[in-house]
Symmetry: C2
Amino acid sequence: MENQVTAHEVAKLAGVSQSSVSRVFTKGASVSGKTREKVLKAAEQLGYRPNEYARSLIMRKSSLIGLVMKGVSNPYYPHAVKKFTSELKKLGYSVLLIDTDDIELQMHDIDALLSYHVAGVVIMDATASLQTAEMLKRFRIPAVLFNRVVPGSGLHSVSCENETAAREIARLLIDRGCKSFTYVGGREGASTHIERLKGFTEELENHGFGCQVLPGDFTYGTGYRNGAEMVESGRLTDAVFAVTDIMAYGIFDAFRDRGVRVPEQVKLIGFDDIEMSSWSPYQLSTYAHPVDRMVALSIELLLDPERSHADGEVHYLPGEMKLRGTT
Amino acid sequence: MENQVTAHEVAKLAGVSQSSVSRVFTKGASVSGKTREKVLKAAEQLGYRPNEYARSLIMRKSSLIGLVMKGVSNPYYPHAVKKFTSELKKLGYSVLLIDTDDIELQMHDIDALLSYHVAGVVIMDATASLQTAEMLKRFRIPAVLFNRVVPGSGLHSVSCENETAAREIARLLIDRGCKSFTYVGGREGASTHIERLKGFTEELENHGFGCQVLPGDFTYGTGYRNGAEMVESGRLTDAVFAVTDIMAYGIFDAFRDRGVRVPEQVKLIGFDDIEMSSWSPYQLSTYAHPVDRMVALSIELLLDPERSHADGEVHYLPGEMKLRGTT
DNA sequence: CCCATGTTTGCATACGTATTCATTCCAGCA
DNA sequence: TGCTGGAATGAATACGTATGCAAACATGGG
């Protein structure tokens, strides 16, 4: 950075003023074709790139979007990250990656976002406490919760139609002739868990069925333990709905290891449709997130000046049922 | 960003000069306890954070590290990303995430890195053409290739001891009594592929064995197809070494689907030790990357001013064999 | 009490760019 | 040719911070 090529040097070489150089690189500015050409040639020769720091400083506008990830527990998120980065790149934004260790977006992480005055924040696979939400509002940083809803936070949320999908899943399993049901959940308090649980159990109730609810945490290991326990304690049901594909794999493997056959003895269905679900040992039936549309909507909410600072909108987008071998 | 709290406002509230405010937030600067306290109180009250743009501009030094990812094909990388972000955070750096679609780091992506004059670049799961390497050198951006080596690029490389590990794997399989061998590879030209292939076949040769080499691309699907073809064409061997865990899964599943038993009929071993390898359906024997040490060394290479701009160092770190159920 | 020494402090400036404002340029027309 | 109005240009300034410099201040020894 010490030997940075500046607009002044380009200007000198091109025989114009620094202003003209700037105008060439600022879209919508008025420059004659002649000088534009001279400037571009000089810039090319020197390898000039406008300095983003100076640019963001003077324009009082950041070209960074903060992307908050919790971890690597679920392969579903890296996929969404990829989509975000490539879409944002098209719009001229770069991505500042924040990796929280905690379930919640921490104050410490907020610091980085504030120092760069990011144009917006996407919070994935993590949640924001009301205090954190307040902080974001206070500093007028547009934020959207991706795949999470935090009631009362006033933050935008973009989620899958969890409840509706869970109802659909319930009906599907009933149609398949199942009479007893189990729901294996995610972390207590996670909106995806709550909404899917609600839709599933309510719809079952509507049809006169009950549901065994087992606690979980979105991990394979816990899925496995739950599956093992179901078999060993004799509490196996005709159908199992796992809050997440990853958990479904664990359950599936626990069943298989104990000689329980899927889908003959038990029907199993997950949620997410990550790549692995189509792999041979699983062939898991599941409900696919509309990732692309979720990403597009998130970006829209962040960057539209009309909506970014307005009250939090909560969106539930419809996904698609993917029926494979486990139902 | 329009209503940014500046050091001037803090200064006014605290009754000191802007310089003093700056000094409080610049470590190593000389401030009295009294003013420090006044400033911190005022800053807290106003929610002041130093503006990174102004700071990076005046200091001519970026606090960003570029992290280049190719995609989401291999769960091994997200794990490393997490390690990078958390380690860099400790050192006061933030992460600029670049997502290349291509196998190579593209010029277009370089632009973002240059605009922010990043303090360094980590290139993961992708490679850099000689032209790109030249570009990085020209702009004096320290770079390290993570898990890749590009001879002649002059870039630092931090990799696993691929060749040595592959030899070890060969000896292990020989010890297990295997007489015929297959290597299922990765993308042509990828250094991990080349090095593991070399170590494996050479060591086998040393013991008087040949090796069937099948082409691959690091994906599950290709692993599966290779596995299927081996069975169906009758070219099954006593042992199979897959360049990557992901590919090993595909091979394993193809075998299983066709009634070939692992490890009784075929011994199978992968490379990476991603989380899934310990899952019940696979229990894959594999060789674990020393991720933590690889990350630490990468950061060291980037940030040590003595080494960051020096000629590219190529490091191979030893990992650890993980023997599970497939050998 | 005074001077010497070291520590704090404020002023002014610079980082590289976008943009306002005044000036110059130039095409088009009478 | 002389005018006019719009387009293009350059000079100057501002963004928010770190830092060199000189002035102010504190401290302690004689």
